[in-house]
Symmetry: C2
Subunit: 126 residues, 2 copies
Amino acid sequence: MDTDQVSGRWDANKGACPTRQVLGRIGDTWTMLIISTLEREGTLRSGQLKASIEGITQKMLTQTLRHLERDGVVRREVIPTVPTTVTYTLTPLGQSLGAAVATMRTWAYDHMDEIVAARNDYDTRD
Amino acid sequence: MDTDQVSGRWDANKGACPTRQVLGRIGDTWTMLIISTLEREGTLRSGQLKASIEGITQKMLTQTLRHLERDGVVRREVIPTVPTTVTYTLTPLGQSLGAAVATMRTWAYDHMDEIVAARNDYDTRD
DNA sequence: CCGCATCCTTAGAGATACTG
DNA sequence: CAGTATCTCTAAGGATGCGG
């Protein structure tokens, strides 16, 4: 796919293309954070994830995890204890995505200061 | 920052951390597509961008471009012709982000089929 | 050609309480 | 503990028309 990506035009900009949907899901507010957390911590229980991600609600956590499970990115495992225990782990597919997410995370971290500076500059112009 | 990223914990999961804001902006529906397009096509006029990105409205295009300009990711250039011409280009900062976005784009493209398969599998279970 | 302002609609997300 | 179900409400986003 490398060929098209650089030289030609491909159809990611067309609404029907599945990449659009994939990028849309990645663009979700919590997706990156969840994947990022699972990548760093390994297998986690629902409650642990919730505790690790400041500001996320049960609803959003469950919802996002369902989407990711559906896409084959995380594996959900129910352990029949009382009360029930549920764990989440990145699948191999999820791990490869985790690498890409890590790239974004690293970029954000590395360029945070430049961005803040650019904003200050922009806001104090004119 | 590589050290923390792998072994320790840093604060991207805390709401106050600027990386959260940065990731949030990247997570924006149109940001990735705009950056991706500018990366492949170079300098473009507003209308050309709009034509290249299926489904985007003038409002969202302008709005997203303003955000990106504020963050120092794109440069807006007004050429005093009649009627006015406006062009957009990635800044060096934007180009480095473009590389990271390309990684995600490539990942999405490469794993599209796996994801679609996973979804079909998930939807036809039980 | 570009983009601002306005209005309007709806999906997304929070809060809360309940079930297995 | 994990997840579902409502209910509510904001705010993102689409449509349209004006102005530089």
